[in-house]
């Protein structure tokens, strides 16, 4: 077992080196220095406390989404719809805020209800994908993709329609709510310790769910062999639905945090692609919850650090996306090579 793990790690290290190698070649081909680019990414993410706080701001939703996806992947589902579930979390949270801002309830209660509302919103959106899958026979990839577009359209409709700012509706989003209704931030930084707590709680919850509970074991059985799981007496489609609901709730929490701690309003690109990025992280860590924290942090750092590139080196900040994508491809490739190699020996 241990030898197996070490072998796995070695393959992934090779994949990591290859990914950096390919990206370096791309940089060289445009006459940029790879080492300088990596240095700038590093400085842009870990160089100062303020920048590291930005990394954490990106880390929180990414970790929540990844945690949720670990659940759906365990049950054998490709929940592409996670992006839309983040958006619906944000919409539901904004809706709860709008309902309760004038209610006179203490801010703590309103914040709590808003975040819970976001989780419910995400879960409902995931349930739609689940219902389409279980009762309609629509593959969750197609259903989820469709619902993502609907979610984006819904956001735009709300921002420019019923929830528009008094006077002029604009792409800058709905009216921001007062500061006392947002999750408290660390002094001088943009990161809320509460958001971090929510994200870490999410991943710990998923870790124990998958490692320690009957529920998690049954979920894995459903994911690995639907038919045998049914014959073993597991109510299979119900478990598929549960996993959609859990993932949706966690994605919804990510959307809720975006509203309650980062933007204080609903904006058009509220999820910023964290859903899709989370899919990459989940694939990269081979569905092991323990690795979610370091890898999500690494990806968040790449995203934030690369913001510096256009300013300092006149490179496009999408370089981080290239690096992330190439990395995932190489890790998957390494797994494939390993499997083939292992079968032969």
């Amino acid at each position: 077992m241990i030898k197996n793990r070490l072998g796995n790690l070695a393959y992934q290290l090779v994949a990591l080196l290859l990914a950096f190698g390919v990206v370096s070649l791309i940089l060289i081909s445009v006459d940029a220095s790879p080492s300088e680019a990596y240095k700038n990414i590093f400085k842009g993410s870990f160089g100062e406390m303020r920048k590291f706080a930005e990394v954490l701001v990106a880390f929180v939703p990414l970790l929540l989404v990844t945690a949720g996806l670990l659940v759906t992947f365990s049950s054998g589902l490709w929940n592409i719809g996670v992006e839309g579930q983040v958006v619906l979390g944000a919409i539901a949270t904004t809706w709860v805020y709008r309902l309760l801002l004038e209610s006179g309830l203490p801010p703590v209660a309103i914040i709590t209800l808003a975040i819970l509302g976001g989780m419910v919103g995400g879960a409902i959106w995931a349930a739609l994908a689940g219902i389409l899958k279980v009762f309609g026979g629509v593959n969750e990839i197609f259903g989820g993709l469709g619902l993502n577009f609907v979610a984006t359209a819904l956001t735009i409709y709300l921002i420019f329609g019923p929830w528009k700012r008094p006077g002029v509706a604009s792409m800058s989003g709905t009216v921001p709510f007062p500061d006392e209704f947002s999750l408290p931030l660390w002094a001088g930084l943009r990161i809320s310790p509460w958001a971090l707590v929510i994200a870490l709680a999410g991943v710990v919850f998923v870790y124990f769910l998958l490692q320690g509970t009957y529920f998690g074991l049954r979920l894995k059985a459903v994911g690995k062999n639907f038919r045998a799981a049914y014959l073993l007496g597991i109510p299979t489609w119900q478990y598929s639905m549960y996993s959609f609901l859990i993932c949706g709730a966690l994605a919804g929490a990510a959307g809720a945090v975006q509203v309650a701690a980062v933007y204080h309003r609903l904006i058009p690109s509220i999820s910023s692609g964290y859903g899709y990025l989370g899919l990459m992280v989940a694939m990269l860590i081979n569905y092991q919850a323990l690795w979610a924290v370091p890898v999500a942090l690494f990806f968040a750092a790449l995203n934030i650090g690369s913001i510096q590139l256009p300013i300092i080196m006149k490179l496009d900040s999408s370089l981080s996306g290239v690096l992330q994508g190439v990395l995932v491809l190489f890790v998957l490739l390494a797994a494939g090579v390993r499997q083939k190699f292992g079968r032969k020996s």
Binding site: L217, K220, A221, K224, A228, L232
Partner: protein, 496 residues
Amino acid sequence: MNVELKNIHKHFGTVYANKGINLNIPAGTIQGILGENGAGKSTLMKILSGFIQADPGGEIILDGSPVIIHSPADAIHDGIGMLHQDPLDFPPMRILDNFLLGQSGGLFPNRNAVALDFKRLADQFDFSLDPDSYVDALTVGERQQLEIIRLLWMGARVLILDEPTTGISSLQKAKLFATLKILAEQGKTIIFVSHKLEDVEHLCHQVAVLRAGEMVGETRTPYVTSKLVEMMFGKAITLGARQPGEAGDVVISMKDISLEDVRLRIKNVNLDIRAGEVIGLAGMEGSGQGMFIRACAGLVRPVGGRIQLKGQDLTGKTYHTFKRAGVNFLPAARLEEGLVPGLSLTDHFVLAEEPKGLFIDHAAGQKLAEERIRSFNIRGAPHSPVESLSGGNQQRAELALLQSPLSLVLLEHPTRGLDIESVIYIWSKLKERCKQGASIIFISSDLEEVLQYSDRVLVFFSGKVSEPLDAGRTTVEELGQLIGGKGWADMGEAHD
């Protein structure tokens, strides 16, 4: 075309599916290939039609010249076409498009010319196929007809048919036989693979019988049925005295059960099974026994009749209700249906237990697994993934998953592919269950196993179900005849 097979060997791992097969089929002959499941018929035909390659050393000789066949495309190029039991067509497409698919070359097929060819061929054999209708709408028999003219159109001079009379009407069967006879007269070579003695006797000019991968005999018309049966199943060897169980109260009671799927229809089965009783189901694969055992598990819903388990009416209930009522089903496809690849033995044992609380007690799970591994003699560790176990050990693991107490155990091929030691061990475990009051229904293609371990035997043939036969007074020969579709009329009370 003359077809000659010389010294064909094929092994999968340590098992020989074909061992030194020699066969000579002159042009214009209808050659029957007989044998029970797993005798090596399909392997041999797949070698001839290019789906798999034989081990080096053998030869395929067509009209005197040796050929090497790497793929089905090669085979059809050499004039060999195979008609599979499940026709390899494309149901959502039109008949004519299906017809065109195998054609090589040409970006734009000449549909009109092809439609004419199609009509000419169809008329020749009196097939009424509309080239513009969709394949989904066809019966199995019509799909077969489509496939035959498609292969002929592509230039097949040797036609291999794998169990072609399963699932088609008697009218279509008569038409098929007439067609095959015309083709033989035209000098085509027909290879007819079947387990149905009557069909083979009726149609074939000569018959080769395979058993356990070897050619055990060749004979020509006129045939002696008992001789064919003996060649197919071998001489009866007794495995020692049978040990009939003590029958108790009725456990499961079936009244007028009728079952249907696209191929088969089983009508009005009545059966009461008592505690401790073992019922063996015999028959060629696909004769209805699989559907029957799944109906007993609640996985197939009967279209008529009632099922009662210890007085509780379970008709139309789900598999999970059956399971809660004490019915367990162990499918033949261990890694596809029985076990979850990727999960360990411990995981499986934990899954099969009733959950105690929310969290899994990993230490207790480990202990449980060690205990089961010991008592079921499984070669594997608690953390071993099930797919790493050998077939025999996977089967033992499945048995170790049976819940307690149990009313009814349903098993599909419980000992298929296992060594004799495992077979004896597994049956000793199953007999223990009988002593505790469970009944067993099992499917096996090993007739000696069926007679050895059953109290009563049901034979299935094309959806027909025999009356329960007393295993103590039935012989392998008798079963073999029934399985091959002979002697049903004599049974009188048999269901149609």
